[in-house]
């Protein structure tokens, strides 16, 4: 691990080279899907042909246009006559937004606690690591369900609960990386100059460990999408009339025998998104992790 931390110092210099190299086709396709999803999410209000809650009881359960349905509803309509394509676009926005906020919250809390543990050592470190071990030994979905049961469901609480997912991985990773960085020459040199610890961590240590943390984000993000969609699928996450990919799948489940187009597009969207982030992350890891790079060279 110390080799890894030592060479991450040089990772900054590698970036242009890896960008210059042409990415494989699969990675390009994944990026394309993610860009598409992002554009749809950001421009949902302009792109979606209908509102996500616009009902039309005369247009209930219409099949997709390519199966002989109404051409104005490309992916058909659901049990309340809402346009599936529009709902899919808004649901993608909600799921991506929640996963994005969750990643921010979790990585911020975890990284902060990791820095604290590595800097203060002693009982603070013990306490943080005890919490890390506890979190790692309990299935997160169960804890999330318990908190939602005890406090009742609200969008803000749901966001916070989802946000806590994965904090322990960031905390553990940051702590060990900072401990290694502190033991290295560059951190020692700056410290002897009398620079404030906060400045050392923010300006010198953090940039050096950032690439490892970014790789962790690519592992964490798909799991967050799966967590959010699972909870929403169970009816305990995003609440109607709001929508999310998991909720669409959950609602479509009751119509699976007669109107499969309500559920399947949402499932495909979840699958493609988690798959794309995972593959992109794998590729990034190969480029950013200098230990793997060294093994190849």
């Amino acid at each position: 691990m110390s080799v890894q931390a030592a060479s991450t110092a040089r990772a900054g210099g590698r970036m242009p080279r890896f960008l210059a190299r042409r990415p494989p086709v699969v990675v390009a396709l994944c990026s394309l899907w993610l860009v598409l999803a992002l554009v749809l999410a950001l421009g949902a209000d302009r792109i979606a042909p209908f509102g996500y809650a616009d009902q039309s009881l005369l247009q209930r359960l219409k099949p997709p246009a390519f199966l002989g349905g109404d051409p104005s509803h490309l992916l058909g309509t659901d049990g309340l006559g809402r346009d599936v394509l529009s709902r899919l676009i808004y649901a993608t926005r909600a799921s991506l937004l929640i996963a994005f906020c969750g990643t921010l919250i979790g990585s911020a809390i975890g990284t902060l606690l990791g820095f604290l543990a590595a800097h203060l050592r002693g009982w603070v470190e013990e306490a943080v690591m005890l919490m890390v071990d506890f979190q790692a030994s309990m299935p997160f979905l169960i804890i999330a369900l318990a908190i939602l049961a005890f406090f009742g469901n609200s969008f803000e609480l749901f966001l916070v609960v989802v946000g806590f997912y994965g904090w322990e991985v960031y905390a553990r990773l940051t702590r060990s990386l900072v401990l290694q960085a502190n033991a290295q020459g560059y951190a020692f040199a700056i410290r002897t100059l009398g620079v404030h610890p906060l400045r050392i961590y923010a300006r010198h240590v953090l940039p050096n460990i950032l690439s490892v943390l970014i790789v962790q984000v690519t592992l964490n993000f798909p799991e967050l999408i799966l967590l959010e969609t699972s909870l929403s699928f169970l009816g305990l996450g995003v609440q109607p009339p709001q929508t999310s990919l998991g909720l669409m799948l959950g609602e479509g489940r009751n119509y699976i025998a007669t109107a499969w187009w309500m559920a399947i597009p949402a499932g495909i969207a979840i699958f493609l998104t988690t798959l794309s982030v995972s593959l992109l992350g794998d590729w990034l890891r190969d480029r950013l992790d200098p230990t793997l790079q060294a093994a190849k060279d």
Partner: protein, 312 residues
Amino acid sequence: MSPRFVLTKLLRALLTLALAVTFVFVVLRMSGDPVTQMLPDDAPASVREQYREMWGLDRPLPEQYLRYVAGLARGDFGFSFRDDRPALDVVLERVPLTLELGLSALALTLGLGLGAGILAALRRGSTVDHATMAFTILGHSMPNFFLGILLILWLAMTWRILPSSGVGTWQHLVMPTVTLGTSYAATVARFTRSSLLEVLHQPYMRTAKAKGVPFGRTILRHALPNAGIPIATVVGLRIGALIGGAVVVETVFAWPGVGQLLVSSVAYRDLAVVQTVVLLIAFTMVVVNFLVDITYGWLDPRIGAGRREARA
């Protein structure tokens, strides 16, 4: 295995359990006054006081905490208002079905995951290897509830060869097992492949080959035990994911186990049942982690021999 190693692990297990109990107690007390939730809004203040006194809610928090722990120790997990029975009974009668599903998924995982991983590592670069790698990537990204719905759509609705939900025969078990086991098997296959690949190039493998040990024996007796530690780690770590997955899969297939009970109890806010399930799962996880730790010591005697554990 030194007694000290086992003792340290045991202490750690108890500490985790204590943290779980404390977590549930804190969340329970933070979530509001149970008396306000149980009694109608127009209940007179004297009645409220009486109830508070009866349940010990007027005592200082540390005393309430001790009473709570003592209650748990006696098997008092609260009363399910939905079933009008002790919560522990409600939960325990669901356990066998969840165990049935969990163990069959675990068997599928170990069979498929280890088998595919070993084959892929031995035939590196072959079609089997590529197929295994594709399976690990796809299986990891597939949400289990989506896989479940697809299976229902194809096997139960279109081809009508398996029942879509419920329990009873072995046919009922097939789709939930596949749904629950797939992503887990994908992870195990990937770890088996990579840790076996690492071991295959070790000098002792060359030595074994050079002195004429049959190929199958080199794999079974030399490679697998050494590759076993990362595999045991990932199997143990992912038990939590398996339990989380069971909650979703039981709901998809209307499998009346603990997971489905948890989801419906959360929806109805039947808190006694929720806390019982959470504590039961915490207990299960603690036992599993303890067993995994002990397995390490058995797989690799160096770990249990009193060497200080390094935290990575």
